[in-house]
Subunit: 295 residues, 2 copies
């Protein structure tokens, strides 16, 4: 299959859905602007694409799950806005554009993040967007997402990251950090799409394994790119992890071992899908892409 | 009825539930500490008491809805932590204790707020906590709460507040500010309790009217207390609104008119409950208390 084409088509659907997701007239104008600014700032759209690919893997369609794809990008964007704040990573640029607080000020950036998080739950809890989905599935999806986002997920991961920066940690601790900070939300994206498209418990279990594996592979690949990547393709300075005192896989277990580990995780992810047919081909391709990408 | 006793009993139940709500071992220790610090910092517990009273008004019990009471206090606490941040109201003290960022630093305070918001949704979406409640009701409650919290609710209200501070606005604009910033979450508290206890659509509609009325009455009373209150009973400086350039009802429509308006709203709230029996007596008493309280 042509993954590039597949991803581009899904990204286009997501972009279109994102651009109409905030401005409903009921949100104060400047807040809507600030939320939209970061939501539309680009990026790989990995999480929404995974929502769609998760749905397709179990026989569903993009149209069925597009609002959930938007919701996952809202949560991801919320986390980026708050991570960039002066008291956190203090970043002025993201994807080559000024960060939210640089444009709208710190107070508005905090509120834009808060607003995106709450709005993501509102989108999923809006039953009219998912006419063929049972309430039980909506509750399951909301629970998974809240878990992946909160203190036992992404927010907890950000704290572990803060606390371990500049300190030497073990490979197991680094794994825990990434599982929390990015792994849970990536996994919840795949399973949300699949649940909304009618996945059974066995399929969800396999997709959990898939999501955890690609989530970690994604981070290892990130660490490798930060050393071996092409500055231009990457769109950011190489070597910034070391500079910021971040723990990375190459630093902890060596470059060769890091690459081996990333490839193992991709294999694990693909193996988890052995009972899925051709409809899971995009998920398999995404797993391979996660470690071969250049940015 | 003895409202003081009623509230104290419900507050005690809420305090007990709050203290065991975070530390589950799966949350990074310092984050759990920071979240718990603000969650247990006291206060009137108006929102959780309203969840319980809302349930009781339609024949339910406190035990049935206690997790939802905790969730509403988590959301309220999230908003206080973020409101107190240096880039927002820059408050060092809340209820006589150092604010979250003063104790844990700004980054952790932002994350504690984020964590409390996500965790609130997780608590409600955890079906095992509400064994007798249908999934449809859980979805309704989650949708209401997300709406009340997000850009069309509390978060939007905070933006309106920021933008109107130091500027002269109309009484209608002030009403809109308060409806967003506090009214929606107060209303969602009453209706969440009632929904989880089996309220019908007519009851929810009446409780919406009740919640909106006491929400606004609460704010007008706050504005009045800021001028006429007793510094000691209030636990904060009187006159701080004027000092901060906040728009208040007494400033916009005069003190006498403000008191009249608050009393009208209490009457509206009580009238909305005319089809409810004795079980709604706590809600009626709370409406009266909202404007007679001393702090």
């Amino acid at each position: 299959m042509d993954l590039k084409n597949y991803i581009q088509e899904r990204q286009a659907l997501v972009e279109e859905a994102l651009s109409s997701s905030i401005n409903d007239g009921a949100t104060p104008e400047r807040l809507a602007e600030s939320m939209t600014y970061s939501l539309k700032a680009g990026g790989k759209r990995l999480r929404p694409v995974l929502v769609v690919a998760g749905a397709e893997a179990v026989g569903g369609s993009a149209a069925q799950v597009l609002p959930a794809a938007v919701a996952m990008e809202m949560i991801h964007t919320f986390s980026l806005i708050h991570d960039d704040l002066p008291s956190m990573d203090d970043d002025d640029l993201r994807r080559g554009k000024p960060t939210n607080h640089k444009v709208y000020g710190e107070a508005m950036a905090i509120l834009a993040g808060d607003g995106l998080l709450a709005e993501a739950f509102h989108v999923i809890a809006d039953r009219s967007r998912f006419p063929d989905v049972t309430d039980a599935v909506i509750v399951d999806v909301l629970r998974d997402i809240a878990h992946a986002t909160g203190p036992r997920g992404m927010t907890g991961g950000q704290v572990i990251d803060m606390e371990s920066t500049g300190k030497k940690i073990t490979p197991d601790e680094l794994k825990r950090l990434h599982e929390h900070k990015t792994g849970r939300l990536i996994t919840a994206s795949v399973t949300a799409g699949a649940r909304l498209a009618g996945a059974n418990a066995e399929q969800i279990s396999a997709l959990n394994t898939y999501g955890e594996a690609i989530g970690l592979a994604f981070q290892i690949a990130d660490d490798i790119l930060d050393i071996e990547g092409d500055q231009e393709e990457l769109g950011k300075d190489v070597g910034s992890d070391v500079e910021q005192g971040k723990n990375t896989y190459p630093a902890l277990i060596g470059m060769e071992e890091s690459k081996k580990r990333a490839q193992q995780l991709v294999n694990e992810a693909v193996n988890a899908l052995q009972n899925f047919g051709d409809s899971a081909e995009p998920l398999r391709e995404i797993a391979r892409y996660v470690v071969t990408r250049k940015n």
